[in-house]
């Protein structure tokens, strides 16, 4: 094995973010790993039906993976599934589209390859687990994930004190460029107006207070969702492609009916 000298192998856990076809039967797989940050690796022969990698390297799969360091791209040598989230998500369209927006966000917020991003990794795994578990509205799971991943990336929004002068909240105006709620004195023209319930929902999503979030009425969910979308598009250059495709249909439309009844 003389020519394996200098080949370095490593093992990590990760989530498959994206795959691209390479040549006839290979794929380039982008993973967000626990210890090595975002990694791009070649999976050889993965598109053949008899590949031993099978579905393990499809987006959303949480894997235990072994790679060796290549010149430009690493190479996948072994994969074991920790959780096949893809199957649960692909069987439910709103969950699938919320999940793809999470994957795209994770990729965009881990700017440098191989730079450890353990908090982003943990947020993504938690978000996918929540989506697949189906306990909460997929739209809320996505919004909570977006707010938290942006916070970890250094863009934490403020839903309490005025983002400009610090005057204690709650405030009714939200200025995306200022990074949060703003008081009447600081409010720049063009700021969004938010119902106090929507502000409370946003704060609950950011802190993970699911009792409050799950109880929020659909109209406040929609308001909060608009703020989150604007906030994401402001902070991510070129925006997120998958965000406009997120399907926010509520199951059987039941909650939407209740919303119009309240209005």
């Amino acid at each position: 094995m003389a020519h394996t000298v200098g080949v370095s192998l490593y093992r990590d856990e990760g989530v498959v973010l994206r795959t691209q076809k390479l040549g006839e039967a290979d794929r380039i797989v982008t993973l967000l790993t626990r210890d090595h940050g975002r990694v791009r690796a070649v999976a050889k022969g993965v598109r053949r039906t008899r590949s031993r990698f099978g579905s393990r390297l499809e987006p959303f799969t949480h894997v235990d993976v072994q790679l060796y360091v290549g010149r430009s791209l690493d190479v996948v040598t072994q994969v074991e599934t920790l959780a096949p989230y893809g199957a649960a998500l692909a069987a439910d369209y709103p969950r699938y589209t919320a999940g793809t927006a999470m994957l795209e966000t994770a990729e965009r917020l881990t700017v440098e390859e191989r730079e450890p991003a353990v908090q982003q990794y943990l947020l993504l795994v938690g978000g996918l687990r929540a989506l697949a578990g189906g306990e909460h509205d997929p739209g809320l799971v996505l919004d909570a994930y977006l707010l938290r991943s942006l916070s970890v990336a250094g863009y934490a929004p403020s839903f309490g004190a005025c983002a400009r002068c610090g005057a204690p909240g709650p405030h009714r105006a939200f200025a995306v460029p200022e990074g949060g709620a703003v008081c009447p004195d600081c409010r720049p023209p063009g700021s969004a107006s938010l119902a106090p319930e929507a502000t409370a929902l946003l704060a609950a999503l950011l802190t993970g207070d699911w009792a409050v979030a799950d109880a929020a009425e659909p109209r406040y969910r929609r308001e909060a969702q608009g703020i989150v979308a604007a906030y994401v598009q402001w902070h991510l250059e070129r925006g997120l492609r998958s965000l406009r495709l997120v399907d926010r249909t509520t199951p059987e439309g039941g909650q939407t009916v209740r919303a119009t009844g309240d209005a």
């Binding site: 998500l89 589209t97 495709l245």
Partner: protein, 199 residues
């Protein structure tokens, strides 16, 4: 940035699927260095394929006439419609000689990260075809991967109010393979789709 026509070429190549900015640059410089006769032949084929080949106006399979040969064939059962992602899937299914119905080619699968949503596929055209009630069974034969499954889920939900029989191609263990090498999702599917052995 390069000057004029070289940059134009890089820009055009960069719009092709699977070609990034670096790849576009590499192909452009390959073409610049290539034999002029080779490049002329490539250019000719590109123009020819656009002039001669088009998409069937009914099913969007590649065709050399207004309608493809399958849509023109009166022996094909119009009550069973098989939805596939690409024309090459039609070719693959035709090779089995198992299927006597008709096709609908979507032109891809829903893939939000690549910016491909339902409106970018021939889904509206599919709904128009289903509207007159001729089709009674819809076979969703999108790829057995994440995007194909999600597209099938989307379509199944969309046509649900129409009361059609909606089926999905069985997926499971590859014939000729060993069970121990199957991944969990494939093996799980194979269990779901198990059939009665009536001997």
């Amino acid at each position: 940035m390069y000057e004029g026509v070289v940059q134009d070429l890089i820009d055009e190549l960069g719009r092709l699927p699977g070609v990034g900015p670096k790849g576009a640059q590499r192909i452009a410089f390959h073409l610049l260095a290539a034999d002029p006769a080779d490049v002329r032949r490539l250019a000719q084929v590109l123009i020819e394929v656009k002039e001669k080949v088009r998409f069937c106006r009914t099913c969007f399979n590649v065709a050399e006439a207004e309608e493809c040969r399958i849509c023109q064939d009166p022996r094909r059962d119009p009550s069973v419609l098989c939805v596939v992602e690409e024309s090459k899937d039609v070719v693959a299914i035709e090779k089995t000689r198992e299927f006597r119905g008709r096709y609908h080619v979507l032109g891809g699968a829903i893939n939000p990260i690549e910016g491909i949503g339902p409106d970018d596929l021939r889904i509206r055209e599919l709904m128009t075809r289903l509207a007159d009630g001729t089709v009674t069974e819809l076979i969703l034969a999108t790829d057995p991967n994440l995007e194909g499954e999600a597209t099938a889920t989307y379509l199944a939900r969309l046509v649900k109010p129409m009361g059609l029989r909606v089926t999905r191609l069985a997926s499971g263990l590859p014939v000729g393979g060993d069970l121990e090498y199957a991944d969990e999702v494939t093996l799980g599917r194979a269990f779901e789709g198990r059939r009665l052995l009536d001997v």
